[in-house]
Symmetry: C2
Subunit: 172 residues, 2 copies
DNA sequence: TGTTTATTACCTATCGATAGGTAGGTATCA
DNA sequence: TGATACCTACCTATCGATAGGTAATAAACA
């Protein structure tokens, strides 16, 4: 699944085959089919694992133990770390951008990912004075877009620029 | 090229074949190869045409005939219009997100697209008082990301939300 | 304890479909 | 006549997926 995740992030859903995965593991493609009968099963599992890992990293959006700024910093750091591994886009940005052509189960998993991410961010921003932060959709959009700009141009400055813009202004 | 553009936007570079294009035109795939010998040629041509169309729509970034707000409105409207046709992502967001795996000529064309777009936006924003607008990278990132969110969730509210946020506050 | 039964994780071999791409012929025009 | 735009017919490579088989491990039971 590590191989599949990085393969999808670099080349899209149609850009990674069972044979690619098998070759990376020094196996045969039939053996990959044993674990994930259909490509749809693999895609769904990879997206769900990706989501679970992210939300583990983000932690609770309503914890009393940290402040709003801390939660937003964790969100931004998660994106920076995701870009840093392989200079590749967010898995769900890659897949979501071609959502109309994905198998239904993968489409749903990506859809669910974004719903969770927006919900987390909205919860994290609750009780902030307006104008302290852009709204949740704006923050997530900017991070996803900046990641794609940096991947497309192989220039990390776009992501750096946007994360700096979004980062809480109080002391680092 | 219309067919290729919409096909790439909906399914990515690997998601559209010469046969798909030929079928849509009631032709044979060999005839498509006559016009675009290699897939790389087609991809490059489609991206370059896409870029030219966009910059025609945007107009000059330093025209004396309109104000900064007008230029930003044209930029935002262009994204809204692009989403409206087929509820699909920006061609260069789809392709750029999987840039590492694109043929070199396509990669370069996408790279060039983003460089032009950032340059246009920076020029359009020149002489604005700081804090009137986010910077160019931020604006483009937010628009690209919001488009992907809306495509992935089939919910235009994300794009609406972000464009409303970015739209100049002066009278519509 | 020894034997049977299942399960796991792979394999070889193959299927039909489709991918990008090519060689060579044909019809339509200026 | 020669360029343009298509065609038929094919090639090689790869795709997702399946059938059927094999070792190794584990569980169930007489």
């Amino acid at each position: 699944m590590d191989i599949a995740e990085s393969g999808y992030r670099q080349g899209g859903f149609a850009g990674l085959s069972f044979r690619d995965i098998a070759a990376a593991l020094d196996m045969k493609s039939a053996s990959v089919h044993y674990h994930f009968p259909h490509k749809e099963d693999l895609g769904k599992a990879v997206v769900e694992r990706y989501a679970d890992n992210l939300f583990d990293t983000l932690g609770a959006a309503d914890s009393a133990e940290d402040k709003i700024d801390d939660r937003i910093r964790r969100l931004i750091s998660a994106y920076q770390a995701a870009y840093a591994e392989g200079e590749s886009s967010c898995l769900c940005a890659v897949l979501g951008s071609v959502s109309p052509q994905l198998p239904p189960a993968v489409q749903t998993a990506v859809d669910h990912f974004f719903a969770r991410l927006i919900a987390w961010t909205e919860k994290a921003l609750i009780n902030t004075e307006p104008s302290a932060y852009p709204n949740a959709a704006h923050i997530i959009s900017a991070l996803q877009g900046a990641m794609i700009l940096s991947v497309a141009t192989r220039d990390s400055r776009y992501l750096d620029n946007v994360t700096h813009d979004l980062m809480p202004k109080s002391a680092a």
